[in-house]
Symmetry: C2
Subunit: 443 residues, 2 copies
C-alpha cells in the first residue's frame, strides 16, 4: 500500500467488529447498516414540509446530521463541515476530501457507540418514515465496460464473429452517459419509445421498446475533483473518490442495436438510470480490499499509467451483488422476488482506480459528484450475469408465478442488493436499488 492511499485503505478502530451501537437495530446480524458502515444519503420526512437533510444510515434509522451539528457533536473537524452538512445534496461534503471524511467517520462512530450510553433518540429519524432522495447532484456520468465477461457475452450477440475487440484488454472502455435522467431508487421507470429495426424488417419503426433490460452496476462517486489538464495518477486515484453505490443502467436493447453504430449507445440508455440512496464511503470499504482481477498470463500487462503494485495488491473491492426480479403477478400471488444472479465486483477486469486514472489521462477534469459507472457486473459463471441480455441468451427465465421473461414487462420490479463480508469483520451493505417498469407514454 502506498503512503498516498492513507487513510482510505487503513483498517482502524472504526472497523472493529466488536463495536456496538445504542441504536439496537444496527446490532442485528442482518442489517446492511451496522456502526461499521455509516453510508451517507439525503432524506426528507414523509408528509412533512421539512427541508431536505443529509443523513447517515444506522440500522433501521437515519442519523440526522444537521441535528448532530446543532447539538455540537461535529465541532472541531473542519471549518467547512457545518455548512456542507446544511446542503440538500452530498456534494459540498464530498468535496472536503478523505482526511475530513476519516475524521467525520471517527466522530460518527463515537456518537453512535453503545459505550456512549443510551444515546439521544432525537438524533434519529426512522428510515420507514423518510423519503430517500437522489443523494448527489451529478455533473457528468461516465459509464465503463469493465467486465470482460459482460463485454465478451454482449459482443457475441452484437458481433458474433468478433466478440471481444482488440482494444479491450488495453483500454478501460467507457462512454459518456446522461446525467439529467439519473433518479433515486424507487422512482418508476417509464418504458421508453424509440426507433428500432429487426434484422429482417425492411424499414425501422418507432414505438415502445420491446427489449427493455436492466444492467447491474456499481457506481463510484467523485469526491475531490481535478483541474483541467492535470491527470490523476493511478496511486492517487482513490483519494478522489467519495464512495460507491448501486447503479441500474436501464437499457433498451432494440433501440441500442439500431442506433449504436458508430458513436455508441445514446437513447437506448438516456431515458433513465437509477442509483441507490446510500453511498458507502471508500473508508468503510477498507476491510474488503482485495487484489485486482488476476489476468491470465496470455493477457497484456496494462500500460504503466494503469499499472501499480498497490493497484494489483489491493485495487479490488469485494462487493457482493445480487439481482432480484418481482413481477406484478408474483406480487399478487404473494411470491418472494426471484434471485436472477449473484456475483462479486472482484470479477471486473479494471479497478475503480484504473477507471479514474484512465478517465483523467487526457487531462479531462472530474468534478465533485461525477458518477463513474463500472459497466455491467458479470462474472464467468452462468448465475453471475448482470443483465437479461446475457441471462436469456440460452432461453427465457422461468418465474415462480409460471410466467417467463426474456426482457422486462410492465409491472416488473428489479431489485439490486450489495454487501461486503469478510471473516473477522461486520458485514456491511449497500441497501437496495429498485425500480418498477410502468407503461410507455401513449403517443
Amino acid at each position: 500500500m502506498s503512503g498516498s492511499d492513507k487513510p482510505l485503505r487503513v483498517i482502524d478502530d472504526t472497523h472493529n467488529s466488536n463495536l456496538r451501537s445504542w441504536v439496537e437495530s444496527a446490532n442485528s446480524d442482518d442489517t446492511d447498516f451496522p456502526i461499521q458502515n455509516l453510508p451517507f444519503g439525503v432524506f426528507r420526512r414523509k408528509h412533512s414540509q421539512e427541508t431536505v437533510r443529509i443523513g447517515v444510515a444506522i440500522g433501521d434509522q437515519i442519523l440526522d446530521l444537521p441535528r448532530c451539528r446543532d447539538l455540537g457533536l461535529l465541532e472541531g473537524i473542519a471549518g467547512d463541515l457545518p455548512q456542507a452538512i446544511a446542503a440538500p445534496v452530498l456534494n459540498p461534503l464530498m468535496a472536503l476530501g478523505p482526511s475530513v471524511m476519516a475524521q467525520l467517520r471517527g466522530r460518527l462512530v463515537r456518537t453512535l457507540d453503545s459505550e456512549r450510553g443510551g444515546g439521544d433518540p432525537n438524533l434519529l429519524v426512522p428510515m420507514d418514515q423518510a423519503e430517500l432522495l437522489l443523494p448527489v447532484a451529478i455533473g457528468d456520468y461516465t459509464d465503463f465496460y469493465a467486465s470482460v465477461f459482460h463485454a465478451t457475452n454482449v459482443g457475441r450477440i452484437f458481433r458474433p464473429d468478433n466478440p471481444l475487440l482488440p482494444n479491450y484488454k488495453h483500454v478501460p472502455i467507457a462512454y459518456h452517459g446522461r446525467s439529467s435522467s439519473i433518479v433515486a431508487s424507487g422512482t418508476d421507470i417509464r418504458r421508453p419509445s424509440g426507433q428500432s429495426k429487426a434484422p429482417d424488417a425492411p424499414h425501422p419503426s418507432f414505438g415502445p421498446s420491446q427489449r427493455l433490460d436492466y444492467e447491474m452496476e456499481i457506481g463510484a462517486l467523485v469526491g475531490v475533483g481535478n483541474p483541467l489538464a492535470q491527470p490523476i495518477a493511478l496511486d492517487e486515484a482513490e483519494q478522489h473518490l467519495f464512495g460507491l453505490c448501486l447503479l441500474n443502467d436501464w437499457s433498451a436493447r432494440d433501440i441500442q442495436a439500431w442506433e449504436y453504430q458508430p458513436l455508441g449507445p445514446f437513447l437506448a440508455k438516456s431515458f433513465v438510470s437509477t442509483i441507490s440512496p446510500w453511498v458507502v464511503t471508500i473508508e468503510a470499504l477498507a476491510p474488503f480490499r482485495s487484489p485486482a482481477f488476476v489476468r491470465p498470463p496470455e493477457d497484456p500487462r496494462p500500460l504503466p499509467y494503469l499499472s501499480s503494485t498497490s493497484n494489483e495488491e489491493s485495487g479490488g473491492i469485494d462487493v457482493k451483488v445480487e439481482v432480484l426480479l418481482s413481477s406484478a403477478q408474483m406480487r399478487e400471488q404473494g411470491l418472494e422476488p426471484l434471485s436472477l444472479s449473484r456475483n462479486s465486483f472482484l470479477n471486473m477486469y479494471w479497478t475503480v482506480a484504473q477507471m479514474v486514472a484512465h478517465h483523467t489521462s487526457n487531462g479531462c477534469n472530474l468534478r465533485t459528484g461525477d458518477l463513474l459507472g463500472s459497466g455491467t457486473v458479470s462474472g464467468p459463471a452462468n448465475d453471475a450475469l448482470g443483465c437479461l441480455l446475457e441471462i436469456t441468451r440460452q432461453g427465457p427465465v422461468q418465474l415462480p408465478s409460471g410466467e417467463t421473461r426474456r426482457f422486462l414487462l410492465d409491472g416488473d420490479e428489479v431489485i439490486f442488493r450489495g454487501y461486503c463480508e469478510r471473516e473477522g469483520y461486520r458485514r456491511i451493505g449497500f441497501g437496495e436499488c429498485r425500480g418498477t417498469i410502468v407503461p410507455a407514454v401513449s403517443p
Copy 2:
C-alpha cells in the same frame, strides 16, 4: 409555420434593417453585433474585482444588463427577470422561455435605438476591456453527427468498405459528450495524451496525441427543459431552445481510432471543447430561416416523429461558417490567418428541431443550459469540410508561411467565425470561437 412556433420565427420590428443604434460601432457594415442581433454573454471587466455580469453584445461594446435593470430599463417584462439578470451565468435567463425573451429583445432594441437619442454610455463596457467567460452552466452535452457529408467522409477513413451506416438516414445519430471540460473561447488547448495504436504497431502506446484536430460545429443551448418521460414534439422543439453558438469539438484522432469501438468516442473528445462567448438567440435568427436540407428522392422519409411541414419549410437556419488557422510561425511573420473552409449550416441532414425531438423521444429530459452540438459542419464541396481529418485526406494543407499541416501542431490557433446574411436584412454574426494548442503535460 405552425402557431406554436411563435414568436420564435416571427420577423418583426426588431429585425428591421433600418434600425440604427446610438452605439455608433453597431451601425458599421462589418460588425457582427448590430442592433438586430443582441446576443447574450457573461463578462467581467479586466483587472477588476467586479462580479461576473450578464451582457449583450452591441457593436464593439457590451450592454451591461444589471446596470440596465438598476436604472429601471427592464421593468414590467417578467417578475423573475431582475433576479435572472443578477446571475453569473445565463441559465436563469434562459429558463424564462421564448415569450419573455421576445419581450426582452423588444425592450433592448428600444434601449439601444438611435431614436432614443444619445443614450447612456454608463450602460456600456468596451468589449476590449472585458474578459468574456463561459456563458452557461452546461449540465449535459450531447453531440450529434448531423452532416451526412462529414459522416460519409469520416466513415470512409474508419470503415472504407462501409462508410455510411444503414441507420444514418433514419436516426439523428449522437453521443453523450463531456460537459466538465467545456471552456470559453480563448482558453488554451492543452494537447492531450492517451493510448493509440498504429495499424502496424504490435502494441498500443501512451503519449501526446499526434493527430490533434478541430471540429467545426454549431451548438444549440436549451432554454426551457422538459420533465423526464415527457417527449418534446418536433413542432414544439424550438420553443425549448434559447439560442446558438459556435462550438469546437477538439478531437484526438489517434486516440479515437483506438478507443471508439464499441461504445463510441470518449477520451478522444473529453479533454476539452470550446464555445463562443456570445449566444445568438433563436429570435434573432428569424430572418435567416430556410427550408431544411432537401433529401435526394432515393433517401427515406424521416419517421413521423421527425417529420413536419413546418420543419421541412423552415427548419433550416442559414448560418455561414468559416474556419481559419494561424500557426505560431505565421503570427511571427505577420501573416493573416488562413481560411481553411467555408460552409453553411443548411448543409446539415438533420435540423436542430429534429435533434431536440429525437433526443427526447425516449423520455430523456433536457435541462436549461444543456448543449446540443450539431456535429462537424461539412458540406459537399472540397472547401466546405469542417475538420482536418477530412481536409487533409488528399494531402497536407499548405500554409502561407511555407509550413504544411495534416493535424494541429503546438502553437496553432484555430478560429471559427459564423454569421447570417440575407438580402433586405442586416448581417448578424456569432463573433469568434478561438483556441491555441499548447504542449502536452510532461509525464
